[in-house]
């Protein structure tokens, strides 16, 4: 993708030297509307918009140009229409405050819509109180970077997604803040994309939601206090690295919900204070390594049809239940993790416990069947129940056992955010 942008950049630079012009729009200028500015522009020109409020309804960008806002000019939809519609390739929209997109049940109105375009860049915009924030359809090779998309959805269900991509390829979603929408980042039929360094919080449903999207990576994102956590569904070959899943509480809330996820890797994530850290269903060939599960209700619930699951070098610390496994799946491996509940010993001091650990308590099985029995959690009866099951397992699956439990936590995985690559910053700085 970088090479692709480099080519475009050089291309644009070359053209700029020859004949690109800069059209300035301001409330007191000769050109006082953004629409007129765009109309006057030739392909490859730049339209620079000065501070002010521009309430012009729907603004259509139908030619290659850069729309640059200086000091946050405001584009106001007055609660009626969609605001920016991009219908040409090589368009940049940078530095606007875009607000008040009207709610509609019959059309998905957005603050910025990408309509079947490629090589786009949506950067450093503030979207306030929009139905949908940034909406990409059938678009590819683009960057959505540094935007703030905040909605006002509280309990109401009539809100759209902050960043919504549908049938898109090769998009970088980077360093955005999404909050107060239905889903923070929603991807449906999106392939080969990277979601990095975003913060998604206080959304009504999911912080991040994948559907039917293959070969994507998301890393170093924070998903916090969303109605139902994060859902990754019906996708293949997904990499999830170094993310933080925090404080997702509720009967239908999961730090991470995996459904029909195959051939994926979940590494170096931190799951902290969720009702369920990870819930996995029908997910095959998934590798869980170097994750930490801290103070969750359930660290992991593995439901029917999960096979070839490999879980190693994870920390399970202070969870009410570490594991609940409801599958007789074959080839599942739970060896080599650290369990704060482990009561064994290590006489030969090789760092590995001498007695296998059974992380699934009988009571977690009982609670899954009858949730009301949760009131007995801290009772003596339940302790006796768990202990007897530990001594001679009857109800819990026999193969849910860690034969090499770690005595100490694995050394802290580096969760620090690496210095992000700033792919297009030089391009933007040149013009503004």
């Amino acid at each position: 993708m970088f090479r692709c942008f480099l080519v475009i950049t050089l291309n644009l630079l070359g053209q700029a030297v020859i004949w690109a012009t800069n059209i300035v729009v301001c409330p007191t200028c000769a050109v006082f509307s953004v629409k007129e500015g765009i109309q006057l522009a030739q392909a490859c020109d730049t339209v620079t918009v000065s501070p002010g409020t521009y309430s012009e309804g729907n603004i259509l960008i139908d030619k290659e140009l850069w729309l640059i806002g200086k000091n946050w000019p405001v584009l106001d939809g007055e609660g009626k229409t969609e605001i920016i519609t991009i219908a040409a390739n090589h368009v940049q929209v940078v530095g606007f405050q875009i607000q008040h997109v009207g709610t509609s049940y019959t059309e998905d109105r957005a603050a910025i819509r990408l309509r079947e375009v490629s090589d786009f860049c949506i950067k450093n915009n503030r979207v306030v109180n929009a139905f949908f924030g940034i909406y990409g359809q059938q678009s590819k090779n683009g960057i959505i970077e540094g935007n703030t998309v905040s909605g006002e959805a509280k309990e109401e269900v009539s809100s759209g997604n902050a960043i919504h991509l549908w049938y898109c390829d090769n998009v970088l979603i980077f360093n955005n803040l999404t909050q107060g929408h239905r889903d923070g980042i929603y991807l449906e039929f999106v392939n080969g994309s990277t979601i990095q360094g975003n913060l998604s919080e206080h959304n009504v449903r999911y912080g991040l939601h994948f559907m039917f999207s293959n070969d994507n990576i998301y890393r170093q994102n924070t998903f916090r206090s969303n109605g139902a956590g994060v859902a990754v569904m019906f996708s293949k070959r997904i990499g999830m690295f170094g993310n933080l899943f925090e404080n997702n509480w509720g009967a239908a809330a999961y730090g991470l919900l995996l459904k029909e996820i195959h051939d994926s890797q979940i590494e170096g994530n931190l799951f902290k204070e969720n009702t369920v850290g990870i819930f996995a269903e029908t997910s095959n060939r998934v590798v869980y390594t170097k994750n930490s599960f801290v103070q969750n209700g359930w660290a992991m619930r593995i439901s029917g049809g999960c096979q070839n699951l490999k879980m190693t070098t994870n920390n399970f610390i202070g969870n009410s239940f570490d594991l609940a496994v409801h599958t007789s799946g074959v080839d599942n491996n739970f060896d080599g993790n650290f369990w704060s509940d482990y009561a064994g010993y290590d006489l030969d001091r090789n760092g590995v416990g001498d007695v296998p650990h059974r992380p699934m308590k009988l009571f977690s099985h009982v609670v899954s069947q009858t949730p009301e029995s949760m009131v007995l959690l801290r009772s003596l009866f339940v302790d006796i129940l768990n202990f007897s099951e530990k001594v001679s397992p009857i109800f819990t699956p026999e193969n849910v056992v860690d034969n090499q439990p770690l005595i100490t936590k694995f050394t802290t995985y580096d969760l620090r955010f690496t210095q992000p690559q700033r792919l297009l910053s030089s391009v933007v700085n040149r013009k503004s």
Partner: protein
Amino acid sequence: MKNPILLLLASILLASCQPSSQPIAYGQDECAHCKMAIVEAPFAAELVTKKGKVFKFDAIECMLDYLRVQTDMEFSMYLVHDFNAPTEWLDAMHCKYLVSEEIKSPMGGNLSAFGTEKAAQDVQIIKGGETYDWASVATLFRK
């Protein structure tokens, strides 16, 4: 029945045995089939078994898929929301359905329900797509 208290008790007992629908707590209830939180009222659906157990769904296509998988249960009610007025439950068997690319439902079926044939056709004129009745939509999604 001579004793009014007995009559009252009997009616309460009978009433509690009657299977009934439940409203959906949006954002809190999860779909019985796909586990997603239910947030979109226009597409929500519900099944009630003969014994009164309620299953809620985030999309009509989820309900149809659930019916395909769960063949051993008997249901007394099949309920959907009218796309235009998603507050009251309608009998799914007597609704008209529209499958349109322009109306995106939560599980990708692009399926919406309408109380009357005219309502479905009115939306079809604007949004395009195909209309179905209950039997044909069930076969369509059972493939």
